[in-house]
């Protein structure tokens, strides 16, 4: 909200006259231009007070809009579709204006761009429910007409348009009465201006506003990836402004406008302007660089200092067969073509090209040699893209030929640290089908952006795979320490029956668990000291513990895991916890062990997801009792810590009093 609104200048036409076109500013002369009564042009500046006395020009045709952007002279678009530069028009105001569009065709919307320093004008017309786009290259005076095909939804009415421009295309976005946003790509340089061409629109965002809004809706493009939409999301709800990321189809932000709006929205200089109630609201909004991690609010944190830093942001220029579904296929082909030309232009880097061709035909062995050769080379500028292309090529071939599975190659490519899940989602999918736990472990360690569903699928395999098939694999064991014969210096003394400051861990056990525990004392010791899973499985599970996740997305998938696997995992986690607490620093030995927080979080997650199932299982009863005791002792530890803190504070006070010698003393000082 602009706190202190007041007009800086205000001018009005005489009574009876009607302003028929919004006033614009001529940036070159710092003058304002307005049209009243369709044909009368007025030009004035800040010093002028009376609009009636300023420059006036009466034109021979009716004006639709005057368009002005910084850096060029304003254009005048007539209702019949003709366009004139302002200077040329003022030289002869009464000049004849030709008719461009047909009868009953009405201009609905227009926008003015500067592309490569040349003005380009686009306007949309409508006639009997059909929409046409006209692109006027102002320097070459070429006018191209396109027919917009609405696709399946023939009956919808387009409510609002916006457009952004890149090097070759005008991306026209339209908000239809069905509440969806469609995109149409209009080439700036027409292939054949003579022919009437048709354009197809594609769905960009579904149902962003409700279909039957009374006050009208509006949309405006903020940059290539973001659009702002004004309207009410559901039929009954209040109107609101929402900013969408169209690349990832996510809602970036939204703001309710309870006092209603007028269906008008502008974006200028990183500020959104709209009418809210009776006042003009300005909301500063700056589009951040669009990234998937940012769009999902999920950036991986807490990298271990020793490990290689992975690229957090995917290079979106990298061509992917597995590209995101809504990406325009034509566009991506274009990028591919461009890249291929670039690659071939570099005379000294044939290995990458050679590699790509090898992938498609040669044997696994040969591919492996080629990949190794390529990796041995110094990292070339297009290293990332070549790696991406290679993986994509390999995976495509894997899908086509079920027997083809170049495992060693894939492992090597993953270890280049340039891949991520979103670059090649097929990779983990194939590994899951092949039950290649070694590759999955590597992916879990290397990829920052694995979705929770895939993490959970990995977990399922890690828990269900047989011990004998595990024996054959060669998983990385660095996160596992051989717990069976671990005797280390920092090991805490076992204390069982020490009454500490009024608290005894054994004191208030529930009576029936006491009985149960007394029945099998040997079992308990065994349970707490020996690892419930084989070391290789432990290494795999540790990879899961290290992976990033969001609770909300993970919980539903955890419910799908069979109960006996859940118990096994819980037992392992409990074992890890016991190992942690043996140590004074509450850490596990080993190079890259799971942290206490990770262990505790996963225990909580598993119990949250499966408590009703686990509580019914007789074999899990002991585990649950142990976990209950664990939580209880944790609570006690924290309450003890609080007590200690109070005691320390008192001691500190006493210490201060001792140091405070009072206001006067005589002391002995010897200087050496």
């Amino acid at each position: 909200m602009v706190s202190d609104q007041k007009p800086l200048g205000s001018w009005s036409v005489k009574q009876g006259q009607i302003i028929t076109c919004p006033a614009v500013c001529n940036f070159q002369t710092r003058e304002y231009i307005v049209v009243h009564d369709n044909k009368v042009l007025r030009i004035w500046n800040n010093e002028d007070v009376n609009l009636d006395k300023v420059f006036k020009a009466t034109l021979s045709a009716e004006v639709y809009r005057i368009l002005s952007v910084q850096g060029t002279e304003p254009l005048v678009l007539f209702k019949e579709g003709a366009v004139r530069g302002l200077e040329a028009l003022l030289a002869d105001p009464q000049q004849k204006i030709e008719t461009v569009i047909s009868d009953e065709e009405v201009i609905k919307w227009t926008k003015f761009f500067i592309v490569f320093r040349h003005p380009v004008l686009i306007f949309i017309t409508e006639k009997h429910g059909n929409y046409f786009a006209y692109v006027q290259m102002f320097n070459s005076r070429i006018l191209t007409k396109y027919t917009l095909l609405l696709g399946q939804d023939e009956n919808s009415v387009i409510e609002s348009f916006t457009a952004s421009v890149d090097r070759k295309f005008i991306s026209l976005m339209s908000l239809s009465s069905d509440g969806c946003i469609y995109e149409t790509l209009i080439p700036i340089r027409p292939t054949d201006p003579e022919k009437n061409q048709t354009l197809v629109r594609s769905l960009l965002l579904k149902a962003v506003v409700s279909g039957n809004t009374r006050n009208g809706v509006a949309l405006t493009a903020l940059d290539q990836d973001h659009i702002a939409v004004l309207g009410s999301p559901q039929a009954a709800s209040k109107e609101c402004l929402s900013v969408w990321n169209i690349k990832f189809q996510t809602l970036q932000t939204s703001k309710e406008l309870p006092q209603g709006t007028s269906g008008q929205l502008w974006y200028y200089g990183e500020n959104l302007f709209m009418l809210h109630g009776k006042s003009l609201t300005v909301i500063p909004y700056k589009c951040e660089v669009s990234s998937l991690a940012g769009a999902l609010g999920k950036l991986k944190h807490g990298q271990d200092p020793g490990t290689h830093v992975m690229p957090r942001f995917v290079n979106w220029e990298t061509p992917q067969g597995c590209g995101l579904g809504f990406q325009n296929s034509e566009q991506s082909r274009r990028i591919l073509r461009r890249r291929k030309i670039e690659v071939s232009l570099q005379p000294e880097v044939p290995p990458s090209k050679q590699l790509l061709s090898t992938i498609m035909e040669d044997s696994e062995k040969h591919i492996e040699v080629e990949v190794r050769k390529f990796l041995a080379l110094k990292q070339t500028p297009d290293f990332h893209t070549v790696i991406g292309d290679t993986v994509t090529g390999l995976l495509e071939r894997c899908k086509a030929e079920p027997s083809f599975y170049p495992r060693n190659c894939l492992m090597q490519l993953i270890q280049t640290h340039v891949l991520s899940y979103s670059l090649c989602p097929d990779l983990m999918e194939i590994a899951l089908i092949k039950k290649d736990v070694q590759l999955l472990q590597l992916c879990l360690q290397q990829f920052p952006d694995i979705p929770e569903s895939v993490t959970c699928a990995c977990l399922k395999i890690f828990l269900s795979i047989g011990d004998d098939s595990l024996q054959e694999t060669d998983v990385s064991m660095e996160s596992v320490f051989d717990y069976s014969n671990s005797v280390h210096d920092e090991k805490m003394e076992e204390q069982t029956e020490i009454l500490q400051n009024g608290f005894s861990p054994e004191e208030d056990k529930c009576s029936n668990c006491d009985q149960e525990l007394n029945k099998k004392p040997q079992d308990e010791t065994k349970e707490s000291t020996s690892c419930p899973v084989v070391p290789k499985r432990a290494a795999l599970l540790n990879a899961i513990l290290h992976s990033a996740y969001s609770e909300t997305f993970l919980l539903p998938h955890l419910k799908d895991i069979p109960a006996q696997h859940i118990t096994l995992f819980l037992k392992y986690l409990y074992f890890l916890y016991l190992k942690c607490s043996e140590n004074a620093t509450m850490t596990l030995p080993g190079i890259h062990p799971p942290t206490l927080n990770q262990i505790m979080d996963w225990i909580c997650l598993l119990l949250d997801a499966n408590f009703t199932v686990v509580v019914m299982m007789p074999e899990a009863k002991r585990l649950l009792i142990n976990l209950y005791k664990l939580v209880k002792s944790q609570i006690s530890v924290y309450s003890e810590l609080n007590k200690i803190e109070v005691s320390f504070r008192e001691l500190q006070k006493l210490n201060q009093e001792k140091n405070n010698r009072g206001l006067y003393s005589i002391e002995v000082l010897e200087l050496f």
């Binding site: 602009v2 206001l663 003393s665 005589i666 002391e667 002995v668 000082l669 200087l671």
Partner: protein, 622 residues
């Protein structure tokens, strides 16, 4: 080296006044600081941040306009409904921005009319506060007005259109002060939470010409309100209710990364507030509006290093002498024999005669002060208490003869022709023959008191004198400067002593030069002519001129006594500087007799306890 009984005094209940305003002058690199009690201090940032001058006003605000011929009332701007709390001129002098309650006005100087009234949002964290006070405004040359207000906002306004451009919410409490760098590429604000924020004009993206104001660095060096800030080309300066003056150099602007790039926190005045009567073991404490006289206690016990001895008699508060009127005390002194007390305010000079009869003490004011003794910057009694030396603010040095209950004006040394600078430090030799006087920059003059003429002038040195004293017997003048250099100048020979030359040749230890408080007092041991005693706020040092000087490789400060070390090692490591850091912050230290020292400390905690409580901040999210 010596064992002393130390009277450790902590009953000097001194609390510095809160800082109200600071102003930085780029040409002279000096900083003016005004405090809530009306005193104005001037710091020379080039001379190791030394406090050069203290002016004591009566607490009222006086506004002077300096014009070549006359002061003229020019124009009444449009009357504003509420009071104006802050003002800022546009650098071109055409417009004035005035911060008021709930709004900011922009005046056109030519017409005197308010061209814009910019309403400040009262909302504070979603709650509408009653009033939003604009505590500070700054007018930039591009027409941007920056305001800081009681709702915790820093806002940017376009004065041409009167519209809000950008708003930063930076604090939950008032933002009270703002200062802009001369280049207008950076500014600093201070909040009531004690935080100072630095804002900088930085490019939106690298190598883009579009720039925006970004909050870059927060600093928390204060516990209380930051009432005022200043921006020098290389540092942010802040001060407030917690009485500290903090100078925080901007690392990116500091060219040489030396000790000058370190943070400075100035809490205590760089001058003495305490004088001592050695014969009667009395301490005179100077406060803004009163003097306190205390008698030290005594003990009969002895002990070893570090022991606290049982008191046989505690310290007594003998006298509480209040000034009349609102004026602050500039300087005060008690004679060595304890029979005379003199002090001066801006407009009056007071001299008292004290009589001691057993435990009773009687005070008699010496009336009819001559008119030239009006405002003294420094007062000193001769060692035999027969003469009084007064440095007046007019530059003259007066010598007054004291006998019985009366006094007689003997002579006045007029300032050198062409100089108007007043002397602010005095030192007299124990035989009463020599008087040394120093201003802030004019060097040290030595006068012959017997012959009443200028004896010599010590060669000029770039840095101001912070303390000086004349050694008994040798009449060597020891001078400490703000750059931590110490010189010894022989008055009879009119030249630096050999020891001083040796010290200058070898140079002081780097740690000695890096101390950031000036030496405020120098004294001598009556039986050990080779010793010089001096102290700053954080250490007390005895320089033994007979020992070798430390070089940068030797350990300057060694708090541990030698234990069973062979004589060889001890001799090799022994050097001239014997330092003790036990007593701090140390406001005064002197030798009462051969074996007794008095140290006056003022612990920071005691000062903080007397300040108003700071704004409470929640801890641990409770």
């Amino acid at each position: 080296m010596g064992e002393f009984k130390v009277h450790r005094v902590r009953f000097f209940n001194y609390v510095p006044s809160g800082i109200r305003c600071v102003a930085y002058n780029n040409q002279s690199n000096r900083l003016a600081v005004s405090r809530t009690d009306g005193t104005v201090e001037v710091y020379n940032l080039s001379a190791n941040y030394f406090q050069e001058k203290v002016g004591c006003e009566d607490g009222s605000v006086k506004l002077f306009q300096i014009t070549p011929d006359k002061i003229q009332f020019e124009r009444n701007f449009d009357r504003q409904k509420s009071r104006i709390l802050s003002l800022s001129w546009h650098p071109s002098g055409t417009h004035v921005a005035a911060g008021s309650i709930d709004y900011i006005s922009v005046f056109d100087v030519k017409s005197g009319s308010a061209i814009h009234k910019m309403i400040v949002d009262r909302q504070h964290m979603g709650v509408s506060k009653r009033k939003c006070i604009v505590w500070g405004v700054a007018f930039l040359s591009d027409g941007t007005v920056i305001s800081v207000d009681s709702a915790g906002k820093v806002q940017f306004w376009d004065s041409a259109t009167g519209t809000l451009v950008k708003s930063h919410l930076i604090a939950n409490a008032d933002v009270q002060s703002i200062a802009v760098a001369e280049q207008e590429d950076s500014f600093v604000v201070g909040t009531a939470e004690g935080t100072v924020f630095h804002f900088q004009l930085v490019p939106v993206t690298s190598n883009s010409s579009e720039k925006q104001w970004v909050r870059t660095k927060p600093f928390q060096h204060h516990t209380h309100d930051v009432r005022t800030v200043a921006h020098s080309p290389t540092a942010l300066i802040s001060g407030g209710t917690d009485t500290h003056l903090v100078i925080r150099p901007l690392m990116e602007k500091v060219e040489v990364k030396n000790y000058d790039a370190a943070l400075r926190k100035i809490t205590f005045p760089h001058r003495r507030l305490i004088s001592c009567s050695k014969k009667r073991q009395l301490l005179l404490f100077q406060f803004a509006h009163h003097l306190e006289l205390w008698r030290l206690g005594s003990t009969v016990a002895t002990g070893k290093n570090g022991d606290t001895l049982p008191l046989s008699k505690n310290a007594d508060h003998l006298l509480h002498l209040k000034t009349k009127g609102p004026e602050n005390i500039i300087c005060s002194c008690i004679s060595l024999c304890g029979s005379w007390i003199a002090y001066s305010t801006v407009s009056r000079f007071f001299l008292y005669r004290l009589n001691y009869e057993h435990d009773n003490i009687s005070l008699k004011r010496v009336s009819k002060m001559p008119p030239f003794l009006r405002c003294a910057l420094q007062i000193l009694f001769s060692e035999d208490s027969t003469k009084l030396f007064v440095a007046s603010n007019q530059g003259a040095l007066h010598i007054v003869q004291l006998s019985g209950g009366s006094f007689k004006h003997l002579h006045a040394f007029q300032p050198q022709s062409g100089t108007v600078e007043a002397m602010c430090l005095l030192a007299v030799s124990s035989d009463g023959n020599w008087l040394a006087a120093s201003g802030t920059s004019a060097g040290v003059h030595v006068y012959n008191v017997k012959q009443l003429k200028l004896h010599c002038t010590v060669p000029a040195y770039n840095f101001p004198v912070t303390a000086m004293a004349i050694a008994p017997n040798t009449n060597n003048l020891v001078i400490a400067h703000s750059d931590q250099q110490v010189f010894e100048y022989s008055i009879p020979d009119k030249q630096y002593t050999d020891w001083s030359r040796t010290v200058q040749k070898q140079g002081f230890h780097h740690l000695w030069l890096q101390r950031d408080t000036p030496i405020t007092h120098i004294s001598f041991h009556p039986k050990r002519p080779m010793h010089i005693l001096l102290h700053d706020a954080y250490m007390f040092c005895i320089i033994d001129k007979s020992l070798p000087l430390p070089n940068d490789k030797t350990l300057l400060y060694n708090p541990f006594p030698p234990t069973n070390e062979s004589d060889v090692v001890r001799r090799r490591t022994a050097h001239a500087f014997k330092i003790s850091k036990i007593y701090k912050p140390l406001l005064f230290m002197d030798l009462l007799d051969e074996r007794t020292l008095v140290a006056v400390e003022r612990p920071l905690d005691d000062i903080i306890a007397q300040l108003p409580p700071p704004i409470k901040k929640k801890k641990f999210g409770t």
